[in-house]
């Protein structure tokens, strides 16, 4: 096993530079100004929460902060990877104040930049940078989760395009979404990775039905979406017909770093520490060492994410490092949520309605249960690491 020294760590103490720090403080001020205490994201039963995030996106767009990471030619600011990291951290730490729009910003937009026609870029990119559109991801199906290539939603050829029939599941924010990044099978091949195509489909097209799924994660996170003979057109294919697997792979690579889970862990650990008078001594005695462990593991998760960011910026692709960072981050998310829950001695689920910190911990604990399942299960991440370390045996 090659033990080349791990690149990608700052020689100084994680000093991203004064620009990045100013950006961080600016984002914190904006969030604090725009959202009331107790805001826990757009995905609630109260439509006002979604409206708040929509207006926040417009505000960010007006300030030139929404599509910061995008290239200048597409309405972005060509922000450095570290400024992008700051955005990712502050957004996740504050329960994603961009609501469901983060999907368009983080990877749908970049995928359109990478594979889209000029017409598609002109049609889809400006609304994303203006904070006017919500995208959802039509990938998983009842028989195709980790094994996405097993997808069965089919696009039948017609004179004008295709008719799509099938079912997607777990589609987050489907009821809120304007557009869907939809993976369908356009032809049959022995290799299941071939014959897949990506369509950019408006969610108000006839034949699309969204059925919300109630879950412990909360409203909007999980939905079924049924496609019943839905018309699609050549102009809506992203990339080439049959190129879908490559498009999916590269799109997912934009999200290789993943959400900055460590940032929410960091914020809530520090909030609990403040609530305990700045000392772990105030915590339940059996919990102190686990609390400190969470502080240290959260730091490790952050450092491993930075390593991936730096490598990507340098044009290096290290799937094992990215998968390892994701494992560290998601496991820490659950461990930290457990620690925080126990720090409240059960009050996080009995008094959360009257205490914003308890409410944030309650939300965090529920959502973290899916951390090792969502966006690539931990088993898949382990397979990727093992493949790199051990090879095929």
């Amino acid at each position: 096993m090659p033990w080349a020294p791990i690149r990608g760590l700052p020689m100084t103490d994680l000093d991203m530079g004064s620009e990045a720090q100013r950006l961080r403080e600016r984002l914190r001020r904006l969030i604090q100004d725009h959202f009331p205490p107790g805001f826990l994201g757009a995905f609630s039963d109260d439509p006002a929460d979604l409206q708040l995030t929509q207006s926040f996106c417009e505000r960010l767009a007006n300030e030139g902060l929404l599509a910061l990471a995008w290239p200048d030619e597409y309405g972005g600011a060509d922000a450095s990877v570290w400024e992008q990291t700051v955005v990712r951290e502050e957004m996740w730490a504050h329960h994603e104040p961009r609501g469901a729009q983060y999907m368009g910003l983080n990877w749908v937009g970049p995928a359109v930049m990478r594979f889209g026609t000029d017409d598609q870029k002109e049609k889809h990119l400006p609304p994303i940078t203006a904070g006017e559109v919500i995208w959802c991801q039509g990938f998983s199906e009842p028989e195709a989760g980790s094994d996405l290539a097993a997808l069965q939603t089919r696009a039948r050829s017609t004179d004008t395009g295709w008719r799509v029939t099938g079912q997607k599941i777990w589609t987050s924010y489907a009821a809120m979404a304007d557009w869907c990044f939809l993976a369908v099978r356009t032809s049959e091949h022995e290799d299941r990775h071939q014959g897949i195509s990506i369509f950019l489909v408006p969610m108000d097209r006839e034949g699309i039905e969204v059925r919300p799924i109630d879950s412990m994660l909360g409203p909007h996170h999980l939905n079924e979406v049924f496609y019943d003979d839905v018309l699609t057109y050549p102009s809506e294919v992203l990339g080439e017909v049959g190129q879908g697997w490559e498009v999916i792979r590269e799109s997912l690579a934009f999200e290789r770093v993943g959400i900055a889970r460590y940032a929410r862990a960091d914020r809530l650990l520090n909030a609990m520490l403040r609530r305990s008078g700045g000392s772990v001594v105030g915590l339940p005695s059996g919990l102190r060492s686990r609390f400190m462990r969470s502080l240290v593991r959260t730091r490790i998760a952050r450092l491993m994410a930075y390593e991936v960011v730096a490598a990507q910026d340098g044009g290096e692709v290290d799937d094992a490092a990215a998968a390892a960072a994701r494992i560290a981050s998601t496991v820490n998310d659950q461990d930290t949520a457990d620690v925080l829950a126990e720090a409240t001695r059960g009050r996080f689920m009995s008094e959360e309605l009257s205490d914003p910190l308890l409410a944030a911990i309650e939300d965090y604990w529920r959502y973290s249960r899916a951390a090792t399942v969502a966006a690539g299960t931990i088993e898949i991440q382990r397979i990727l690491v093992a493949r790199s370390v051990l090879g095929k045996l």
């Binding site: 020294p5 205490p37 403040r274 400190m292 490092a321 090879g391």
Partner: protein, 318 residues
């Protein structure tokens, strides 16, 4: 932001590794455990590598070079207090962290005088009392006598401890390497052990932990150098992770290596035995927890939201 490990440190570590392997690698530890007087030869080897010219307090490059030599030393269980020697200013006595209530220094008998950072906050000189009888897990732990000494620079003790943890890092990297080699080649039930998913997942988890320890170790050296006021907190945080991860990695390495890994002929056995002192003396996981708790109360813990006002999470009116 400037990223990357200084090339000169990497080169230094590479040269050190070549020298250690040339001199016998883990066999040096094996000989030392058998009572062969090989530790003095190791001292000469280190002097030839320029360990006494490292000034870890003066430059980050030197600090990383010291870290690298500690790491490669740990990877072969080099029977010598490399961290203590590397942490010292050139031409001065080596550094150790000691619990005054239970004063021991690993390989303390090799040098006539040490500079000590006591866990009670005082600085001492330490002199070895006698070599210990045979011990499986602490064969080189030497009881020492302590005398008051002028105060050490604030970052010196933490740097010595962090460098010791770089030795632990080297040991767990080597343990993972041995495990990978074993599961790729050892066949049972018609296939290599590494073809079984449970084994693959266990190796993956080991890789994640080792990688995490490595980035934390890198960061800690940077921080001790750039923020000496936080040095002790950072060193304790690193030791917390090192102690837990070492325990976990070595345990899993033995599990996957099977019975052969317990035999002294196998390098894993030597690594496990010779790393325990660094993991547990003077600060094991529990003792580290206690001290880190004190540090957090006194100085906080550097993080994204350390010291940040969070009014939206406060109870109204509270």
């Amino acid at each position: 932001m400037d990223l990357g490990h200084p090339d000169v440190a990497v080169e230094y570590g590479r040269n050190a590794r070549a020298a250690f392997v040339d001199a016998g690698g883990v066999e040096l530890a094996r000989k030392a455990l058998n009572g062969t007087g090989v530790r003095e030869e190791v001292a000469t080897l280190l002097e030839d590598l320029g360990i006494d010219s490292l000034d870890v307090g003066a430059s980050a490059e030197h600090a990383f070079a010291a870290a690298e030599i500690c790491r490669v030393a740990g990877s072969v269980a080099l029977p010598y207090p490399v961290a203590g020697r590397a942490a010292a200013e050139p031409g001065t006595a080596p550094i150790a962290i000691v619990d005054p209530d239970h004063p021991y220094i690993n390989h303390g008998d090799l040098l006539s005088r040490w500079r000590v950072m006591g866990l009670d906050g005082e600085s001492y000189f330490a002199t070895p009392v006698h070599s210990r009888e045979q011990s499986v897990l602490g064969p080189f732990l030497t009881p020492v006598e302590l005398d008051q000494a002028p105060r050490l620079e604030a970052a010196t003790g933490p740097m010595a401890m962090a460098l010791g943890d770089w030795g632990i890092l080297g040991a767990v990297e080597a343990a993972l390497d041995l495990t990978v080699k074993h599961v790729k080649t050892r066949e049972q039930f018609g296939q290599p052990l590494g073809a079984f998913q449970a084994v693959r997942f266990a190796v993956a988890d080991m890789f994640v932990d080792v990688r995490g320890l490595r980035v934390l170790a890198d960061y800690t050296i940077s921080r001790i150098h750039s923020a000496p006021d936080d040095a002790w907190t950072e060193a304790l945080a690193l030791h917390l992770a090192s102690a837990e991860i070492a325990d976990s990695i070595l345990r899993m390495a033995h599990q996957l290596t099977g019975a052969i890994g317990f035999c002294d002929e196998h390098d894993l056995s030597i690594l496990t035995r010779c790393t325990q002192a660094a993991i547990r003396v003077p600060l094991d996981l529990e003792a580290t927890n206690d001290l880190l708790a004190d540090q957090i109360e006194a100085c906080g813990f550097a993080s994204l939201y350390d010291g940040v006002e969070m009014p939206h999470l406060d109870v109204e009116g509270g």
